[in-house]
Amino acid sequence: MTVWFDADSGRLRLTREAWAALLEWDPAAMPASRAEHELHKSGLIVEGRLAPRVEWALLTVREPVLTITATQRDHRGIRADGCGWVSTGSAALLIDSSDGLCELIVTESTLISAVLARIVELGPRGRATDSTVAMSLEMFSLLTDASADFRRRAVAEVGVGALEPLTGGPWNLWCVRTSQRNDVREVLDTPDQLWVVKRDDTQVRLEPSDPSHTWRWLAQCVAGVVGSPN
């Protein structure tokens, strides 16, 4: 099964191939590919019509006011990348899930910041330090490598106690980028400290931050699109 659709909740999970077929779907044409057959079999298309919630999402996907890309990778090396499309009324996000499928999340555009906070699991964290840490790009790659041994050796090399949680985890390295003003925020999230990651051509700077400042960034990055304050 490459498409899984729950008509009651509107939850849609599918492969990237099926997503591509959905974007190309033509109600006047007979299903030709395996992916198109799966779209029909899942109950997503009934009597030549898409489920309304997904139809609504596709309108946003085709004519977004703002696009979002999100990447994340945790201490186990598991990636959960996604992309989002936001219009003035609605938003859709397509996010990788751990079983190899993607999940389409359809929501009101006003709730997009909250959905992003849920996806990156923003929540209470410690405040271990107020010191910025600078290192080479290579050292940062080792600090956030899938190999626990590389991470342990890199943490010892950098010698900053607040980075100790990187050795065992859990931690999450995530980045959200929007097409509006090309806003980007990369975050290294550990239980003891949340860091904003600033990169240039040679160096990475980890600036101590906290969930409150991160929420403020998430709330503002789509504010101009989803309704300015009166």
Binding site: T110, L111, G123, P124, D210, S212, R216, P229, N230
Partner: protein, 149 residues
């Protein structure tokens, strides 16, 4: 910068709020003070509410703080606790998010602490769509918060 007006309450708390916000009458119950911004932004009027829980029977601060979070989790739609700091002994600062009405997202800054066998909570709520503009004002309001501990 928005001018603030100071309020002192005989129940042992004080705070400063924007001049334009007006006080609302509160019915008898846990809420003892409420004030609201007359202007609606993004479908929501910013407001501040103070509640007082009688803790004479359950004076364990940790239990009361945890119960407060459970209560919000149960009653607020789309609740997410975004941040929590233990600022001073039994005092806790929280940032949280929830949804009201027709998908109006609200960001809440909260201070909760034990004072004179009471659990006292300041809750300042603003529309999330205007949070970036209002965050500094919210911080000033919460920084003005005082209790007679």
């Amino acid at each position: 910068m928005t001018a603030l007006r100071s309020y002192q309450d005989e129940r042992g708390f004080g705070l400063s709020l924007p001049d334009r916000w007006y006080r609302l009458a509160v019915p008898p119950g846990a809420a003892v003070f409420a004030a609201v911004d007359p202007d609606q932004r993004a479908g929501f009027c910013a407001n501040a509410v103070v509640t007082v829980d009688d803790l004479s029977a359950t004076p364990d601060p940790a239990l009361w703080q945890a119960a407060l979070e459970l209560r919000m989790e149960r009653h607020l739609v789309g609740y997410r606790l975004l941040d929590r700091e233990h600022t001073d002994g039994a005092a806790t600062r929280r940032l949280l998010h929830h949804v009201v009405g027709q998908s109006v997202p609200v960001t809440v800054e909260q201070r909760s602490e034990i004072a004179a066998m009471s659990g006292i909570v300041l809750t300042v709520s603003v529309p999330t769509a205007a949070y970036n503009e209002l965050a500094d004002l919210v911080a000033r309001i919460c920084d003005s918060w005082e209790t007679a501990r």
